[in-house]
C-alpha cells in the first residue's frame, strides 16, 4: 500500500483519473467545457489548487487533530481558491468573467478534498505534490478533450478566444473548420456535455479493454455500458 512514483503518475493521468474514473467534479467539468480555452483556464486553476492544497495538507498532516481535520482542509482549500480567484481577476480578467461562478466553486470540487483526505494526509510532501499535479493534469486533460470535442462540433472552431488566455498573439491560435452557423448546437448545450462525457468514458473503457492482460471471451458489450454516467457534483 505504498504506491511508487510511477504508480502515482499513472493513477492521476489514467487509471484513477478524477474525471473519467472517479467521476468527481463533474459540475464544472460539464459546465465549462463548451470551448477549449475555458477548459484550459479552469483546468489550470484546478491543477494549481490541487497541487497547493496537497502540499499544505501534507505539511500539516502530523499536526492537525483527526477530529477537526476536514474543516482544516476546507479552510486551506478555500484560502487557495480565493487567492487563485483574485489572481485570475487581476491577470486574466476576460477569462475570469467567462468562467464566473465556477472559479469560486473549485472549492466544492470533490476531487480536491478527496485527494487531501485520501492521499496528501498520509504521504510526504513531494509525493503529495506529485499526486496533486498528476490528478490536476488528468482532470485538465479530460476538460480539454471535452472542450475540443464540443467546440469543434458545436461552432466549428478550436481555441476560439485564445487571446483571453495567451494575450494578443492568441488570436493566431484560433482555427476555423467550417462556418459557425452550421454548428451542431446540441454539442454546446448541457445534454451534449453529458453525451460527450459518456462517450469519452466509453472510449477510455474500450481502450483499457483492448490492453487487458488476459482477454476473456464474454465481453461483447463493454462500450455500450457506460453511456449513463452517474451524476456527481
Amino acid at each position: 500500500m505504498n504506491p511508487t512514483l510511477t504508480d502515482i503518475i499513472r493513477d492521476g493521468l489514467w487509471h484513477n483519473n478524477p474525471g473519467l474514473v472517479q467521476l468527481l467534479g463533474l459540475c464544472p467539468l460539464l459546465a465549462i467545457s463548451g470551448t477549449m480555452v475555458n477548459a484550459i483556464g479552469l483546468g489550470i486553476a484546478t491543477t494549481l489548487t490541487l497541487l497547493l492544497s496537497n502540499v499544505l495538507v501534507s505539511l500539516i498532516r502530523n499536526h492537525a487533530r483527526p477530529e477537526i481535520r476536514i474543516p482544516v482542509y476546507v479552510l486551506i482549500i478555500a484560502s487557495i481558491v480565493t487567492a487563485i480567484e483574485l489572481a485570475m481577476n487581476a491577470w486574466f480578467h476576460g477569462l475570469y468573467l467567462i468562467l464566473g461562478i465556477f472559479i469560486p466553486l473549485i472549492v466544492t470540487n470533490c476531487a480536491i478534498i478527496g485527494r487531501a483526505e485520501a492521499f496528501a494526509s498520509r504521504n510526504s510532501v513531494p509525493r503529495a505534490a506529485l499526486d496533486g499535479l498528476m490528478m490536476g493534469l488528468g482532470f485538465t486533460g479530460v476538460l480539454i478533450a471535452l472542450g475540443a470535442l464540443r467546440e469543434i462540433l458545436g461552432q466549428g472552431t478550436l481555441m476560439a478566444n485564445a487571446h483571453l488566455l495567451f494575450g494578443s498573439w492568441g488570436h493566431n491560435l484560433t482555427l476555423q473548420f467550417y462556418p459557425s452557423e452550421h454548428g451542431f448546437l446540441l454539442a454546446l448545450l448541457p445534454p451534449g456535455a453529458f453525451m460527450a462525457m459518456g462517450l469519452l468514458i466509453a472510449a477510455k473503457n474500450w481502450i483499457d479493454h483492448q490492453f487487458e492482460p488476459e482477454p476473456s471471451a464474454s465481453h461483447d458489450e463493454s462500450t455500450a455500458e457506460s453511456s449513463t454516467a452517474p451524476d456527481n457534483a
Binding site: E181, F184, L185, L186, A187, L189, M195, D220, E221, A224, S227
Partner: protein
Amino acid sequence: MRFRTESSPHMIPAHSVSGVMQQVLMALVPGTLAMTWFFGWGVLVNVLLGVLFAVAFEAAMVAARKRPVMPTLADNSAIVTGWLFALAIPPLAPFWVTLIGIAFAIIVAKHLYGGLGYNPFNPAMVGYVVVLVSFPREMALWPAPDTLPESPLTLLQTLQTVLTGSLPGAQEWDAVTRATPLDAMREGLVSGRTVGEITASPLFGSFTETGWEWIGNFFLLGGLYLLFRRIIHWHIPVAVILGVAVPAGFFWMLDPGSYASPAFHVFSGAVIIGAFFIATDPVSASTTPLGRILYGAGIGVLIFVIRTWGGYPDAVAFAVLLMNMVAPTLDHLTRPRIFGRTRGGPPPGGGHA
C-alpha cells in the same frame, strides 16, 4: 396408428414483432400519401432516405454488437423509426438532417441502451429532438401546404434540393416555405393579434389550415385501422387527444381571443400522428391500463402547456420523451390487482403468499 406430437409452444402468438411493425407501416401509408399530396415529393424522398439510413445504421450496430443481422432487420422496427422520423421533419430538409437524426435515433437512443425492447426513449423522437434543437434554421423549412403549386418542384428538383440543401433555379426559400399554423398562431398571439384575426386568413379551414386538417384525417384513418386490428389499445390515443383538448377547451372558454380552440390544437401539428403512432410505441410507453391513460394524458397536457407557454410551437416530441421517463414509475404504481388478492396485500384470509 401414430399420433404426431409437437413440443411447446402450442399457441402461436397473434402478434409477432415484425407483424406488428408491418401493420404500423401499412397504417402510415394513407397519412404519408396525404402529406405527399399537400407538401410534394419531398415527403416521399425523406421517407425513403430515412428508412435507408435507419436500416443501414441498424445493420451496422447489430453487426458491431456481434448479433445476427438478418433476424434483427427482419423485425422491421428500424423501418418504422426511419419512417416516423422522416414524417416529423420538414419535407425539403437537407439529407444530412435525416442522416444525423437517424444516427442518433438508431445508435444512441436504441442500440447503446441495448436494442429493441430496451430503449427507454422513443428512438424516432430522440432523433427528431436532436435535429430540432441543433438545426433550428433547417427545421423551419416547412413548405406551404396546398399553395405551393405556382411552380411545384418535380421529383428530380426535390431530390436536388434535399441532396444539396438549396432550391433549384432562382427560387427563394421564402417563396416556398411558410409558417405552419402553429407558428402562425404563436407569432400572431405574441404580436398581440387575437385568435379570430389569425384564423380569419383564407388558408384556414374549419379547424386549422385545410392541408393540415386533411393530413390529420388520414393519419386518424391509419390509427383507427391499428385500433381495429388490436395493434394498439384505445387508452393512449384517447388520453392524448383528451389531454390536449380538455385544457385547451378550458382556456378557450375563459378567453377565446387569446387561446386557440381545442379543435385547432388537436388537428394542428403532430397531435394525431403522435397520439396513434408515436405515443403508442410498445417499448417506451406505459403498459398497464391505468398507466396508459395517465401516460397519454400526461403527453396531451404537456403538449398543450409547451405549445402555449413554452419555447417551441409544437411539442409532441418533447412531451413524449418527458413521459417516457415517467413510464416505468407509472407502470410500477398502477400494477393491476392480482386475482385473489387485495390491492398491494396478501390474499384475503391471510394465506401464504
